[in-house]
Amino acid sequence: MNDVNVLMVGVGGHGVILASDGMAEIGMNNGYDVKKTDSLGMAQRGGSVVSHVRWGKHVYSPMIEKGEVDFLLGFEQLEAARWASYLRPGGVAIVADVVVIPISAIDGKIPYPSWDEIKVTLAEYTDQIYLIPATRIAEEVGNPRAVNMVMLGFLSAFLALKPEAWTDTMRLRLPPKFRDSSIEAFIKGADEAKTMISVKGP
């Protein structure tokens, strides 16, 4: 049972908190000690949202130290770049194709970085960088808000738990209206990971 440290970053309204809540509960239901914590407060009004999820035999600190993140889930590209330094060397960066341009980049002096620039920033810490078509997949399943489920699905492909270990908990948590489409988004995310890993190599 290896320790797993996941940092989920994004902006308000993108389901970061729901995803990290779900991931923590899945860990608990599968025998891990878990802790999860968010940086929120005024962030819920358009600022960055950061969730730390830790699975382990015994977890002390709820927050992951810089350089200790196994998986960085960027629900938004700029936020992925902002938190790149939290990756451990060789950690995995999973970034959604979501761009939310902050006001400061519209009227300010620092422009929103291109994906190539973001990739360079991430590459300082790891060569395992995946930009995933999460928006497209979420639209395919008819649930545009399911980007977070695509992200979790993609992440699941790197971890030892079986897909049912994830989806069983999700079924209990998800509202009936979005249950099937969310699970489908999760499975498609996992499939996407398998395809991308086989192309890229593990």
């Binding site: 809540d21 878990v34 962030a43 009004r45 358009g46 600022g47 002390y60 709820p62 130290e65 009227d107």
Partner: protein
């Protein structure tokens, strides 16, 4: 049964299982979810109080009535409730009374940072503090028992990182049922604090602390772990988790009884180790208490006194102080310097009803004097308050001059006027903040014949903390309809003759009303009414910019609306974010009339 609970949920469940009968609070980050959670449970009374002072007074009455009572608030809420807090410490209680204070190290969502452990000492009240959700759950039972056994309110302190962190809780209790039935026992010597009675109670308070000092020595949730004796670490709260993570081999003493501290236990621990340190967030509270025992101890000479800690900060500080060897981890320093990334500041939402008023305030009152400059003639001062609208301090709105504490805007405006400052001051605060602490300030304006203009931004909710009810909403914590306190009736009753209700999205009406009130030499209240955009159920068709008409003047960007951005130098509106005709402020700003409802 195992459950994943936030500290706040665990506090609520712990209180429920301890048999709490009355729960009251005013919302405030990071404490809000305690009352929200408990209000969903059956068999008890829960309420949003108008403010923390009233909450604690309600709590005091309920506890005098013999039932277990929970009062929760954020750290600065205890400042508001300080008067009843000291009072109930003096009288003691019959039913268990637990006051939860949620501190916010790092000021994630607060106007100040303060360490409320000092309240325990100055109020002569026992304080407990959990290190995770399990302890938050367990300590609630102990807190109520201690309260009743020692005739005292009990403070339970938590912090943001405990309140909002989810950890595994073994929920092993059921709701306690063998509790006292409500009833009041007449006892003027205990409850009527005239000096002759208060002097007697004063002795009871000191005797209580002496008994508690003995009691905490064997408190089961304090824990000593003896390992390597070279270093002993005493810690509390979430700092305990960082201490365990960083000082892996050391001996540890975890304290959940923060005041009074278990002196003999600490002495025993100190004797077991060569060097004793304290890892605690904010002030050197435990460190000083321990030093007063005559024990040599360090802590704040290397651990920061400001802000939240984390394992990295603790580790770096310990390495710097020579307590830990330098880490053998590979260097994490990137090859090239980190790129500059645009900041993502919190901002008012798309369709926010506060934007138009703050835009007008900026336009009328801020004609040039920058920071550090004296105001010019014709400019005015905007005293502001605690709420979402405080975000209007950031550009491009940048329309506020002050923000201090709940309700202060009105008193500040009157003070500026009475000091003889030539520029007029306008007080701006939200409906919930006005209810909380603005009413008394406004009465003071009327009584002292000020000519203050007060703008109440009435979005019909307590938005910043996540949409809680307050007396102006007429909706209770359980979502039921209750008697609504109408703002306009209230301010008229106070004696304000010039009361205007304006549509919060009508720029022209807001501007003309503010201008008129500025020329008025009697006090006035403007109620800018419009629903919080996050509560709007029916939004209109999104607005769009006619790119051919857009002259790239960027006036619309001055609203700071997150739905408006630029594409090829022309303004564009994000259809997913725009509330359309439910807002429509950008269309009123555009000099070219290039913005209108989408016809798609």
């Amino acid at each position: 049964m195992k459950q994943l609970l936030s500290g706040n949920e665990a506090i609520a469940l712990g209180a429920y299982h301890a048999g709490v009968a009355v729960a009251t609070a005013y919302p405030g980050t990071p404490s809000t979810e305690i009352l929200q959670s408990i209000a969903r449970m059956d068999g008890l009374y829960a309420e949003w109080a108008i403010n923390e002072k009233v909450a604690l007074e309600v709590g005091m009455g309920a506890a005098y009535g013999g039932v277990r009572t929970l009062v929760s608030m954020k750290h600065v809420g205890l400042n508001v409730a300080a008067d009843p807090f000291f009072a109930v410490s003096t009288t003691g209680t019959i039913g268990g009374l637990v006051i939860v204070s949620c501190d916010d190290p790092g000021e994630h969502s607060s106007q100040g940072e303060q360490d409320n452990r000092h309240f325990a000492k100055i109020g002569k009240v026992p304080m407990l503090e959990p290190t995770d959700s399990q302890e938050a759950y367990d300590l609630m039972g102990w807190a109520f028992d201690i309260s009743e056994e020692f005739d005292t309110p009990v403070l339970l302190r938590s912090t943001t990182r405990i309140c909002h962190c989810k950890t595994v809780v073994n929920v092993n209790k059921e709701r306690k049922s063998d509790l006292r039935q409500p009833g009041f026992q007449r006892s003027p010597a205990k409850y009527v604090m005239v000096p002759s009675n208060a002097r007697v109670r004063r002795h009871a308070m000191e005797e209580r602390i002496v008994k508690l000092r003995a009691y905490v020595e064997d408190f089961p949730l304090n824990e000593m772990v003896l390992a390597d004796r070279k270093l002993g670490v005493i810690s509390n709260g979430v700092a305990y988790q960082y201490a365990r993570e960083v000082f892996k081999d050391a001996s540890h003493l975890k304290l959940t009884t923060i005041y009074p501290i278990p002196a003999n236990l600490i002495r025993r621990f100190a004797q077991e180790v060569d060097r004793l340190i304290v890892i605690e967030e904010l002030d050197p509270f435990l460190e000083e208490e321990i030093r007063c025992l005559g024990i040599q101890v360090t802590g704040k000479d290397f651990i920061p006194i400001i802000g939240e800690l984390n394992a990295e900060i603790v580790e770096n500080a310990a390495v710097e102080a020579g307590i830990l060897p330098a880490p053998s981890k590979p260097s994490l320093r990137p090859k090239s310097p980190a790129p500059q990334l645009p900041a993502r500041r919190p901002q008012l939402c798309a369709g926010c009803p506060h934007v138009a008023t703050e835009y007008v305030l900026r336009k009328l009152g801020f004609s040039g004097a920058g920071s550090g400059k004296e105001l010019k003639k014709g400019e005015f001062i905007v005293t502001s308050d605690i709420g979402c609208y405080t975000l209007g301090v950031y550009p491009p709105l940048a329309a506020l001059d002050t923000c201090a504490c709940m309700g202060a805007s009105i008193g500040q405006a009157l003070g500026l006027e009475k000091a003889g400052v030539p520029n007029k001051a306008i007080a701006v605060l939200g409906d919930s903040t006005f209810m909380h602490s603005g009413i008394t300030g406004l009465i003071n304006v009327v009584y002292n014949q000020g000519n203050t203009t007060v703008i109440i931004l009435d979005n019909g909710t307590t938005a910043m903390t996540g949409h809680q009810g307050h007396p102006g909403t007429g909706i209770s914590v359980t979502g039921k309809k209750t008697q609504q306190v109408k703002l306009e009736t209230l301010v008229e009753g106070i004696g304000i003759k010039d009361v205007t209700v304006v549509d919060a999205f009508d720029l022209k009406a807001i501007e003309s009303t503010i201008k008129r009130c500025l020329d008025n030499d009697e006090p006035s209240v403007i109620i800018a009414r419009g629903p919080c955009s996050l509560t709007v159920k029916t939004r209109g068709a999104p607005f769009e910019v006619d790119a051919d008409e857009c002259i790239s003047c960027y006036d619309c960007l001055d609203l700071g609306c997150p739905a408006i951005s630029l594409s090829e130098d022309k303004a564009v509106i994000d259809a997913g974010m725009c509330l359309g005709s439910a807002c429509g402020v950008c269309a009123q700003v555009c000099p070219q009339e290039a913005i209108s409802e989408s016809r798609k």
